[in-house]
């Protein structure tokens, strides 16, 4: 009893450290320390769990920890920064699956109604996180098309699925010894995760990743209720809440409700074609250089295309040359640029761009008229003026970076194919826009050579 009490008190310490660590994660100067403190909190929680009297056999635990450490460690060390979104998706998935299994295993020892309900929840949320993350991973790594998969009757199928999950859940609660209901809940939850993510397009992935992140926390939280463990509840709900906030920020940045992101594929709305006036004006690297050489204020707006072309280091080189040429260089970062929240910031940090040069959308927009050249690298929807001007556009009302208000805009683009969401972009036809076609990294390196 005294040992039990002592161990639970240490859990309180661990919870406090988790909270303090998360708080420090809120500022760039202290974030690294915050992450380390949170890791210490995790270590303490794990040690306490190992000391528990119910743990008598360490062989399985050691085996699991060794396997997990090797896989997780290798993944974390070897992954390229450009592949971070799919990595986070996979980590999410493994956490969710673990919670599912914890719930499943708990069923053999806990079968009062309250426990079974929470076990059901941990299996449901864990299962959705597991398969949903896997689909998100496949879409992000382009092993599967990023286009929304939509078929007629999809909502009906999904509604039936939800109903079936609930029915099986109720039956499981009534008769926890009948494992068929358990297996049905597991299978249906996993299926539901797949169904929930396939209709969501690649450009909406920042929302999905943050939502799945939240789910993985909630799954741990439900598992905490199932096995009666406070630290799981506290840590799980902290993650759940933080994921919800990020999801909300991402939705706001796209001017869409969460329901809209989850249930209506972007592609479905964009079939109508809006006629755009004007013509495309291509520019050569050489001419682009002459304009840049005369510029004193340059803003670079990166998008997913920069990640695909791995152009961040070349961009940094160009930035240094421009600065040597006495130009002020800033980066305009849209909250949903890329495939996960803050994706661009990580890539530019990798290329040694100081974070105080990365300016958020609300701050950069008022300064846009004094900008000589705005360079758009592989971004499309987040700089689309149709969001302000064309009421019939599917992205009308979405806050965008107003690059068209700069004196000159360079758009670096592979070809004239429309962006991920398939929406026409009037920016390309504006008088002050020049298109620099080709691979983003090649084009930037070309500019760098001109300077040299």
């Amino acid at each position: 009893m005294t040992l039990d009490l002592a161990l639970n008190m240490i859990y309180v310490v661990s919870a406090g450290l988790f909270i303090y660590g998360l708080k420090l994660l809120g500022s760039p100067a202290t974030a690294r320390r915050g992450n380390a403190i949170s890791a210490v909190a995790m270590l303490i929680a794990i040690i306490v769990a190992l000391l528990d009297q119910s743990v008598v056999d360490y062989r399985w635990i050691i085996g699991g920890v060794i396997i997990g450490t090797i896989i997780g460690g290798l993944a974390a060390r070897l992954i390229a920064m450009t592949s971070m979104p799919e990595m986070v998706a996979l980590f999410n998935g493994s956490g969710g699956t673990a919670s599912l299994l914890v719930g499943w295993a708990a069923l053999s020892t806990h079968n009062d109604t309250f426990s079974v309900v929470t076990i059901f929840l941990s299996i449901l949320i864990g299962g959705v996180t597991c398969s949903g993350s896997l689909i998100a991973y496949l879409k992000l790594s382009e092993k599967m098309s990023g286009k929304p998969i939509i078929f007629s009757g999809q909502r009906i199928v999904n509604s039936i699925l939800v109903l079936a999950i609930l029915v099986c859940g109720v039956m499981l609660t009534i008769d926890p010894s009948n494992l068929n209901y358990l297996y049905a809940v597991i299978a249906l939850s996993v299926l539901f995760g797949v169904m929930a993510v396939i209709p969501i397009g690649g450009a909406d992935m920042p929302v999905v990743i943050s939502l799945l992140n939240s789910y993985s926390g909630l799954a741990a939280c439900a598992a905490g209720f199932a096995v009666n463990n406070n630290i799981l509840i506290v840590a799980g709900s902290l993650v759940g809440a933080s994921g919800m906030i990020l999801t909300n920020i991402m939705c706001k940045a796209m001017n869409r409700s969460l329901v809209n992101v989850l249930f209506s594929g972007f592609g479905a709305v964009s079939t109508e074609t809006t006629k755009v006036e004007g013509e495309i004006k291509p520019i050569s690297v050489e001419d682009a250089f002459y304009i840049l050489e005369a510029a004193t204020n340059v803003v670079i707006v990166p998008g997913y295309g920069m990640a695909v072309a791995q152009a961040q280091h070349a961009v940094k080189e160009l930035q240094l040359l421009l600065e040597k040429n006495d130009a002020e260089v800033n980066y305009g970062i849209h909250p949903v640029a890329g495939r996960m929240p803050g994706h661009m910031n990580v890539l530019l940090a990798e290329a040694d761009v100081p974070y105080d040069q990365l300016i958020e959308m609300e701050e950069i927009n008022p300064r846009m008229d004094s900008v000589d050249v705005a360079i758009v690298i592989g971004a499309n929807d987040v700089v689309n003026p149709a969001a302000r001007e064309v009421e019939s556009s599917p992205i009308y009302g979405m806050p965008v970076i107003n690059v068209d208000q700069a004196r000159t805009v360079f758009v670096l683009k592979r070809s004239m194919a429309s962006g991920f969401a398939g929406i026409e972009n009037p920016l390309f036809y504006k008088d002050n826009t020049r298109m620099l076609f080709g691979d983003a990294k090649e084009s930037i390196s070309g500019l760098v050579r001109e300077f040299g």
Binding site: L22, L25, I71, M87, A98, A105, L232, G342, D352
Partner: protein, 93 residues
């Protein structure tokens, strides 16, 4: 009473989570997400109890798999977050 007490903790933790994360600058969204993701690996604590029961039954094996998966989440999550945060630099430093 146990249920009420656990729900109390849940409610307070959720509010705390909202308060903590609300002010995080956009620059840190990715590390925040992967750091939070590592925390969700806390489910390893629940898994350890089943994996260490010594019963040798199905629950025991499920627990062991859960330990492995949650450890991937914990080790990978913290490590990759640290790798990212090490790259964030202020101008001139």
């Amino acid at each position: 009473m146990e249920i009420v007490y656990l729900t109390f903790i849940l409610m307070l933790a959720i509010f705390l989570g909202f308060e903590l994360i609300n002010k995080v600058p956009a620059t840190l969204h990715t590390p925040l997400m992967s750091g939070a993701n590592a925390i969700s690996g806390i489910t390893v604590v629940g898994a350890i109890a089943s994996a260490g029961s010594g019963s040798g039954d199905a629950a025991n094996i499920l627990g062991a798999i859960a330990v492995a998966l949650a450890t991937i989440n914990v080790v990978g999550g913290y490590w990759v977050t640290d790798r990212m945060l090490a790259m964030f630099k202020k101008k001139g430093s």
